[in-house]
C-alpha cells in the first residue's frame, strides 16, 4: 500500500511547521521549504491519481486505524483530479508570488508562507477526507488561515477580511449544525457509513433540515449569489499573493464539497427525487450567473472585474450540479477543474500587471500589449478560456453545461450561460481595447518609436505561462479527463 495520500496532506503541514521554526535560523530557508512541501504534495497527488486510474476507489487509513475511530482518507475518481488541480495550482501560485510576498511582508514573510501552506493543507484535507466532521475541522483550518491571508493587503483589506470572517464563520456554523443533526440521527460522522444509514431515514424532516443547513453553509463559503457578499471585498483588497492562492481554490473546493455531499453522503435519488429543490436551485444559479456577469460589467477596475467573474463561475458549477443529468454533472466537475486553471491564470496575470502600476483601473492599462506582451499574452489565453473559445479548456466544460441544460429542458440556464459568454467577450475586449491603445494619442502612419518592454519578474511570468499552457493542455485532453475520471466518478 503506497503512502501517497498521507504525503499529500502531511507534506504541506510539516513544511508549515518547519518554516515557522526555520524562520528563527535563516529566513532564506523558508521559501525552499515551502516549495518542497507543496512540490511533494503535488507529486503525491499525481501518484494518487495514477493509483485511482489503475485501482479505482481506495481508502487510506491514517496510522492504520480503521474508521470510525481512525481517520480515513477516501480517494476516488471524483476527488483525484481535484487534488491534482488544487496542489498544482497552489504550487504554481506560491512560486509566482514569491517576490510579492518578500516585498510586501518583509521580515514577516515566513508567517505568510506558513499561513499559505496551512490553508492548502486544509483544502487538500477537505478534498480527501472521508469524514464529515473532519471536513469541518479542515474547513476551519483553511478558513481561518484564509481570513489571516486576506487581512494583509491594501487599506481596506482588514475590513474586508473581518466581513469574510463573520460570514465565513456563519457558513461554517451552518455546516456544523447540519453535520450535528446527521450525527444525532445516525450516530456516525463517517461519509460511507452515513450513506448506508441515511436511506432508511430519507423521509425524516430532521434529515431534510440537515441537508439544507449543510447546503446553505457550503453555498455561503462558495460565494453563490446572493451569499457572495464577502468575496469581492476579500479578494480584491487582499494582497495579490493571497488572492492568487485563494481565488482559484477556495470556492472550487467548496463546490467539490457540495458535490461530495450530494453524491456520497446523500444520493442523487434523495437530492433529485425525494426532495425537489433542483428547480429552485437552477433558477438561483442562473440568476447568479447573470448577476455576476452584470456586476463584473459595472466595474472599472480589472481586479474588481475578475472577482465578479468568480461569482458568475460559481453559478455555472452550482447550476450544472443541480440540473440533474449525467451531462450536466460532467460539465460541473470539468468546469470545476478548468475554473481552477482559468482563475489562476487570470489572477496571476492581474498580479503581474499590478506590479507595474498603482491600481489596475482600466485607465492605467493603456499600451500594455507593448510594454508587457508576455503577461498580456497569457491573459488573452485565460480570457479565451473564460469566454469559451476552443481549444481553451473553458469551452469544453461549457459545452457539457449547455448540453445538460438542453437535456434538462432548462432554457433559462442555457440563456444565462450564453448571456454570460457574451458579457465575457465584452468584459475582456473592453480591456484589450484599453491595452491596445497606447498612452500617447498618436496612432497615425509611421512606426512608433521603440517601446521598452517592462515585464513582471521572471518567476511570475513563467508561472503565469504554466497556467496558460495548462489551459490549452487540459483543453486538448478534456476528452480523456472525462473518459478516465469523470465518467467513472458518475457511475
Amino acid at each position: 500500500m503506497n503512502q501517497y495520500p498521507a504525503f499529500l496532506i502531511i507534506a504541506p503541514l510539516l513544511a508549515a511547521c518547519l518554516i515557522a521554526s526555520a524562520a528563527w535560523l535563516r529566513r532564506s530557508l523558508c521559501f525552499p521549504i515551502a516549495v518542497l512541501g507543496l512540490g511533494t504534495s503535488f507529486l503525491s497527488s499525481l501518484g494518487v491519481a495514477a493509483r485511482v486510474l489503475t485501482d479505482g476507489h481506495f481508502q487510506y487509513r491514517m496510522g492504520g486505524w480503521a474508521p470510525p475511530l481512525g481517520i480515513a482518507l477516501e480517494v476516488d475518481y471524483l476527488n483525484a483530479p481535484v487534488l491534482v488541480a488544487v496542489s498544482g495550482a497552489a504550487l504554481v501560485s506560491l512560486i509566482a508570488t514569491r517576490q510579492i510576498i518578500e516585498r510586501e511582508q518583509g521580515p514577516k514573510a515566513p508567517v505568510f508562507y506558513t499561513l499559505m501552506l496551512l490553508a492548502v493543507t486544509g483544502m487538500l484535507g477537505m478534498t480527501a477526507t472521508g469524514d464529515a466532521f473532519n471536513l469541518y475541522v479542515l474547513l476551519e483550518i483553511s478558513s481561518i488561515t484564509g481570513y489571516a491571508l486576506t487581512a494583509s493587503g491594501d487599506r481596506l483589506a482588514p475590513l474586508a477580511s473581518l466581513r469574510y470572517l463573520l460570514l465565513g464563520t456563519i457558513g461554517a456554523s451552518f455546516y456544523l449544525l447540519g453535520v450535528g443533526l446527521l450525527y444525532m440521527m445516525t450516530g456516525t460522522l463517517n461519509m460511507a457509513d452515513l450513506s448506508h444509514l441515511l436511506p432508511a431515514l430519507y423521509g425524516s424532516d430532521a434529515i431534510f433540515a440537515a441537508f439544507l443547513l449543510i447546503l446553505c453553509g457550503i453555498w455561503l463559503k462558495a460565494a453563490l449569489f446572493p451569499l457572495h457578499a464577502w468575496l469581492p471585498g476579500a479578494y480584491s483588497h487582499a494582497s495579490h499573493a493571497s488572492a492568487c492562492l485563494l481565488a482559484p481554490l477556495m470556492t472550487k473546493v467548496m463546490i467539490y464539497v457540495m458535490l461530495r455531499v450530494m453524491f456520497t453522503v446523500f444520493t442523487p435519488a434523495y437530492v433529485f427525487e425525494q426532495i425537489s429543490l433542483e428547480g429552485f436551485v437552477v433558477t438561483l444559479a442562473s440568476v447568479a450567473v447573470v448577476a455576476g456577469s452584470l456586476m463584473a460589467l459595472a466595474q472599472r477596475n480589472l481586479r474588481r472585474m475578475a472577482v465578479y467573474i468568480v461569482v458568475a463561475e460559481v453559478g455555472y458549477m452550482v447550476g450544472g450540479a443541480w440540473l440533474g443529468n449525467q451531462t450536466a454533472w460532467t460539465g460541473a466537475i470539468l468546469h470545476l477543474l478548468n475554473d481552477v486553471l482559468m482563475t489562476l491564470c487570470l489572477f496571476l496575470a492581474i498580479a503581474a500587471l499590478a506590479g507595474r502600476m498603482e491600481t489596475t483601473d482600466f485607465k492605467n492599462l493603456k499600451g500594455l500589449f507593448s510594454t508587457m506582451p508576455f503577461s498580456m499574452g497569457a491573459l488573452v489565453l485565460g480570457a479565451m478560456s473564460i469566454i469559451g473559445v476552443p481549444p481553451a479548456c473553458g469551452f469544453f466544460s461549457k459545452w457539457f453545461l449547455l448540453k445538460g441544460a438542453i437535456e434538462a429542458g432548462r432554457f433559462d440556464f442555457l440563456a444565462a450561460l450564453l448571456f454570460s459568454s457574451l458579457i465575457n467577450v465584452v468584459l475582456f475586449f473592453r480591456l484589450f481595447e484599453c491595452a491596445l491603445y497606447s498612452g500617447d494619442d498618436h496612432h497615425g502612419p509611421g512606426e512608433h518609436g521603440h517601446i521598452e518592454i517592462h515585464e513582471a519578474p521572471l518567476s511570475l511570468v513563467a508561472s503565469l505561462w504554466a497556467a496558460a499552457a495548462g489551459i490549452l493542455a487540459v483543453g486538448f485532453y478534456s476528452g480523456s479527463i472525462v473518459n478516465n475520471f469523470i465518467k467513472p466518478a458518475l457511475m
Binding site: M384, G388, V389, P390, P391, F396, W399, F400, L402, K403, I406, E407, L414, L418, S421, L422, V425, F429, E433, L436, Y437, S438, H443, G444, P445, G446, E447, H448, G475, F476, Y477, S478, G479, S480, V482, N483, K487
Partner: protein, 492 residues
C-alpha cells in the same frame, strides 16, 4: 475513395502559426517578410502536394486528441476543403507581397503585429477548410474571428474601435448564441458531429427542428454575411486594404460561406434539405441578400464600401448555388469561391493601390484616373468583368454553372435573380472603369503623367488580374475540384 492517414493537413495548418514567434523576434522588416514568404511557400507546397491524390477522389485524414468523448479534433482533406485551401494559400503569398508595398508605401505603424496576426488568421483559415467535424470547424472559425480583430482595429482610432466592436458583436455573438446551441442540438440528436458526404442529420430531426437548425447555422455563421447579419463587413473596411483584400474578400468571409456550404452538405445532406424544402428557403434568403446588397452597392461612393456590399452579394451567390441542391448548382457555388476570390482581391488591391498612389478613397474622385494609373485601372476593369461574370473573366465560369444549376432545378425565379443581379453588378462596376479611362480628369490632375503605386503593389494586382483571365480559359483545378465535391455530396 481511399482515406490516407497523413500528418500533412496538420502541417499545412500550423505552417504559418509556427513562424509567428520568428516574426515577432525578427530584427529587420526584410527578415520578417522573408519568413512570411517562406511560411507561405511551405503552406502552399504542402497543400499542392495533396492535390493530385484529392483530385483522384482520395481524402487525407489526421486526428488529434479527443476533446469531447466521441469527438476528436480532426482534419479531413476532401475536394471541397482542398478547393478553398488552395485559393487561400495561393492568395496569401500574393497578399503578403502586396502588404509590403502597401504597408511600407504608407509607412504604417505596428507592422510586426500586422504580419503576425495575418499568419495566425491564415492558419485558422486552412484549419477551417480541412476541419473534419463541426467542433474543429467551430474552433478555427472562432480563432479566425479573434485573430482578425487586431487587424480590423489596426488604425487604433475611434472609427476602428467602433468597427471592431461591431465586428465582434456580429461574428462572435452569432457563433456563440446561434451556432453553439445548434451544434449541441445536432450532437444530441445524431450522436456525432463528423461531416459525412451526405450529411448525418437525416432520420434524426423533424422538419421543424431541421428548419430551426438551418436558420441558426446560416445566420450564426455571420462571416457569410447573409442579411441581416452583414453589417459588420462594410464596417470592417476601416482595416488596412490588404486585410480587406485577403480577409474580407477571401479568407474570413469565405470561411463563412464555406462553413455554411459544409454544414449544408456535411451535416444536413442534400437529400434532407430537398425533402424538407430547406434548399428553397435558403435560396430565397440568399436571393434577397444578393439583390438588396447590389442595390445598396449602387449608392455607395466610398470605393471600399461599394466593394464590401458587392462582396455581401457575391457571398450569397455561393450560398444560392449550394442551396439549389443540384450538381451543377453546387459546382457553380463552390467554384465561385475561387473565381470571386481572384476577381475581388484584384479590385481591393486596386483600391489600395489607388489610395497609396493618389490618396483617393471615393469613386467620385476617380475620373480620368486611368491616364495616371493605367495598369491599376486596367486590372480594375478585368476584375470588374470577372465579378460581374462576363468573359474573359473567371467569374463567367461560376455564373454559367450557377445558371445551369438554376435551370437544372427548374427554378427560373433564381435564374432571373442571377441575371438581374449581374446587370446590377455591371451597373455599379463598369462606370468606375469607364470614368477612369474616358472621363476628363479634374484640372489639377491633368498632365500629371503616369503615377503608379510602388511595384510591390502593382505586381500582385497585375498577377491576380491575369490569373482571373487565365482561369476563364483554364479553370483547372478549381472546376475539377468543385465538380468532384459536388459529385461527392450529391452521391452522384
Amino acid at each position: 475513395m481511399h482515406e490516407i492517414v497523413s500528418i500533412r493537413p496538420l502541417l499545412a495548418v500550423i505552417a504559418s502559426l509556427a513562424v509567428t514567434p520568428i516574426l515577432l523576434s525578427a530584427r529587420s522588416p526584410n527578415v520578417r517578410e522573408g519568413w512570411t514568404f517562406a511560411a507561405g511557400a511551405v503552406k502552399l507546397g504542402i497543400v499542392l502536394s495533396m492535390l493530385p491524390a484529392v483530385l483522384g477522389g482520395n481524402v487525407f485524414c489526421f486526428a488529434l486528441t479527443e476533446v469531447i468523448p466521441g469527438i476528436r479534433l480532426a482534419f479531413r482533406v476532401d475536394a471541397m476543403g482542398m478547393l478553398f485551401a488552395l485559393v487561400a494559400s495561393t492568395l496569401w503569398i500574393v497578399t503578403s507581397a502586396y502588404s509590403i508595398g502597401y504597408m511600407r508605401g504608407l509607412d504604417e505603424h505596428s507592422q510586426t503585429r500586422y504580419f503576425c496576426f495575418f499568419a495566425i488568421a491564415l492558419s485558422a483559415t486552412i484549419g477551417a477548410a480541412f476541419a473534419a467535424n463541426l467542433v474543429t470547424l467551430y474552433m478555427f472559425y472562432e480563432i479566425l474571428s479573434f485573430a482578425t480583430y487586431p487587424l480590423v482595429t489596426h488604425h487604433q482610432d475611434e472609427e476602428a474601435k467602433i468597427s471592431g466592436r461591431k465586428y465582434l458583436f456580429f461574428i462572435v455573438g452569432g457563433s456563440v448564441v446561434l451556432v453553439l446551441p445548434a451544434m449541441i442540438i445536432c450532437h444530441m440528436k445524431a450522436g456525432t458531429l463528423d461531416f459525412a458526404p451526405q450529411g448525418f442529420l437525416a432520420g434524426h430531426v423533424t422538419q421543424g427542428l431541421a428548419t430551426a437548425l438551418l436558420l441558426l447555422f446560416v445566420f450564426g455563421l455571420a462571416k457569410a454575411a447573409l442579411m441581416p447579419m452583414h453589417s459588420w463587413l462594410p464596417a470592417a473596411m476601416v482595416a488596412p486594404t490588404p486585410v480587406s483584400a485577403l480577409l474580407h474578400a477571401v479568407a474570413v468571409v469565405k470561411v463563412g460561406a464555406f462553413s455554411v456550404a459544409r454544414v449544408l452538405t456535411g451535416v444536413f445532406g442534400v437529400d434532407l434539405l430537398a425533402q424538407y424544402g430547406l434548399g428553397t428557403l435558403l435560396a430565397v434568403l440568399a436571393s434577397i441578400t444578393i439583390l438588396v446588397a447590389s442595390f445598396i452597392a449602387l449608392s455607395q461612393d466610398g470605393l471600399k464600401r461599394r466593394l464590401a456590399f458587392s462582396t455581401i452579394g457575391q457571398l450569397s451567390y455561393i450560398l444560392l448555388g449550394v442551396a439549389l441542391l443540384t450538381p451543377k448548382g453546387i459546382t457553380g457555388g463552390l467554384v465561385h469561391i475561387a473565381m470571386h476570390a481572384f476577381g475581388k482581391i484584384t479590385l481591393f488591391f486596386c483600391a489600395g493601390a489607388i489610395f497609396v498612389a493618389a490618396g483617393i478613397k471615393n469613386i467620385s474622385e476617380m475620373k480620368g484616373l486611368g491616364r495616371r494609373m493605367p495598369i491599376t485601372m486596367g486590372a480594375f476593369f478585368i476584375g470588374s468583368l470577372s465579378v460581374i461574370g462576363l468573359p474573359p473573366g473567371g467569374g463567367f465560369i461560376s455564373k454559367w454553372f450557377l445558371a445551369l444549376g438554376a435551370l437544372e432545378s427548374h427554378e427560373l425565379a433564381f435564374l432571373c435573380v442571377l441575371l438581374f443581379s449581374s446587370f446590377l453588378n455591371a451597373a455599379y462596376f463598369l462606370p468606375i472603369a469607364y470614368n477612369a479611362f474616358f472621363a476628363n480628369p479634374p484640372d489639377d490632375a491633368k498632365d500629371a503623367g503616369i503615377q503608379e503605386a510602388p511595384p510591390w503593389c502593382v505586381a500582385p494586382l497585375a498577377f491576380t488580374a491575369m490569373a482571373s483571365v487565365w482561369l476563364f480559359f483554364n479553370p483547372w483545378p478549381f472546376l475539377d475540384l468543385a465538380r468532384l465535391a459536388a459529385a461527392q455530396v450529391t452521391g452522384g
